[in-house]
Amino acid sequence: MSDIKKAPDGITANHTLDAKGLSCPMPLLRTKKEIEKLKSGEILEVLGTDPGSRNDIPGWCSRSGHEYLGEKEDAGFIRFYVKKK
């Protein structure tokens, strides 16, 4: 199903949410809550370790209208980038 979307190089976030160690559904719920703090057009970075987020975060973006910018692999965790609508 899902090809992994890579985030563009040099991307910078306005805000970071640490969801490392959390498992489904907490990373997505915390992302939903956190994005309320951003202004339209700002970028939220979510740090996570649950591979399920690779489906959950892009899926939620496509339904909620936020733009999913992609992910970056880091040492032992993944950085996900979401641009607020």
């Binding site: 160690g21 370790t49 899926g59």
Partner: protein, 385 residues
């Protein structure tokens, strides 16, 4: 494109990319039917309870020796599931031990205790009490489904409340995330070798073990590849509106019910298989408790087990707590002869005939499918934070 490149592409689509939930649901139904063809319906809780029984027997709390875990059908299914899911995770480089914040450990511990109670009352977790129960045409599967849905709403409200009042502390380390994928292939060879080893065993029932182990491994592999999750199927319609998992589970139940129902109809399997004395308050209340707890746990019976194989420590806590609690509750209930008083054993074709039963299963799953699909656009069921 050369044949070599094509090979890589096909390999990636089978072993690296996530399958769609519907692919997982259809394959799961196929494997659930195979399990009944082999011998008995697929379940989760019987196996992990066997392991917990050994713990309580080992510390001298139980006097009766439990079945040997290597010759116990449920235990072998669960070991197969763990192996299959681990193989999938390693091949896709998604295995790693992930230590959660303390708050998550506590949630897993407490949710596991309630899951153990719920699965005792309902004669099984979401698999034995709901998924396999409906496929085996037991009325109790439907009452558990009602309980599960109500419980999931309560569990979700708890999580929302928790988010307002608690912030999880720092996560623990993530480690062993770099296991080489060839270990997955070594494990596949090991599974096949184990299957063959049983065929020359003289122990009673040993010749049935390869099926439980290998079909169980197929189930684990399919679960992990598609990340099929029944908690997600029940929860998302109320949380984000997403319906893909729920629709996959609905289709999976229909396909399995037709396959297993026909095995019963033709007399190839006994009609009483997985028709337990749970139709009534046992499955309703058990489903409610289990449903609320599985949302807090972040995994149902099957979902917790395949996440164990992926290395998620929170789900290790859930499964251990769930198994120990279920063993104790079941032991206590059996000692008091309560298991027969939780409801009645109702085989739906005895009342509706096989045709009527198939129509009921299809209609019920179709309505669920329709409602969550409609909700995906309307978000009418979504509970706001």
């Amino acid at each position: 494109m050369s044949i070599g490149e094509k090979f890589n592409e096909v390999y990636d689509s089978f072993f690296k990319k996530t399958w769609s939930p519907m692919t997982g649901g259809i394959l799961l139904a196929f494997l659930a039917i195979l399990m009944v063809e082999w011998k008995r319906p697929w379940g989760i809780v019987g196996g992990i309870r066997n392991w917990a029984d050994w713990f309580f027997y080992g510390i001298g709390f139980y006097t009766e020796m439990p079945d040997h875990p290597l010759y116990h059908s449920g235990s072998m299914m669960d070991m197969g599931l763990l192996a299959g899911a681990w193989i999938s995770a390693v091949l896709a480089r998604e295995f790693a031990f992930r230590v959660p914040p303390m708050l998550e450990i506590w949630k897993g511990l407490i949710a596991g205790i309630f899951m153990g109670l719920g699965a005792t009352l309902a004669f099984g977790c979401n698999v034995g009490g709901f998924y396999s129960a409906i496929q085996n045409l037991s009325a109790s599967g439907f009452t558990m489904m009602i309980g599960l849905i109500a419980g999931v709403v309560v569990g979700l409200k708890y999580i929302y409340w928790e988010m307002e009042h608690f912030t999880p502390g720092p996560a623990g380390p993530t480690f062993l995330g770099n296991l080489p994928p060839f270990l997955g292939w070594v494990a596949i060879i090991g599974l096949i070798a184990a299957g063959y080893a049983y065929t020359s065993s003289e122990v009673e029932g040993a010749k049935l073990m390869p099926g439980y182990l290998l079909i169980g491994a197929g189930i684990g592999f399919v679960f992990h590849r598609s990340r099929l999750c029944m908690v997600n199927g029940f929860r998302e319609p109320f949380m984000t509106g997403e319906a893909a998992m729920g629709k996959a589970v609905a289709v999976s139940i229909i396909l399995g019910a037709l396959g297993i129902g026909l095995l019963k109809f033709t007399g190839l399997r006994g009609t009483d298989l997985y028709v337990e004395t749970a139709f009534g308050w046992g499955s309703l209340v058990g489903g409610f408790i289990f449903g609320a707890a599985m949302v807090v746990a972040g995994g149902c019976g099957s979902g917790s087990l395949w996440r164990v194989a992926e290395g998620q420590i929170k789900l290790w806590v859930v499964i251990i707590s769930f198994a120990l609690s279920n063993s104790l509750f079941r032991h206590w209930f059996e000692a008091n002869e309560w298991m027969g008083k939780l409801g009645s054993a109702v085989f739906l074709p005895d009342i509706l005939g096989y045709g009527g039963t198939f129509m009921l299963v299809i209609a019920a799953m179709f309505i669920w499918y329709l409602v969550i699909d409609w909700n995906e656009d309307s978000n009418a069921l979504v509970i706001e934070m």
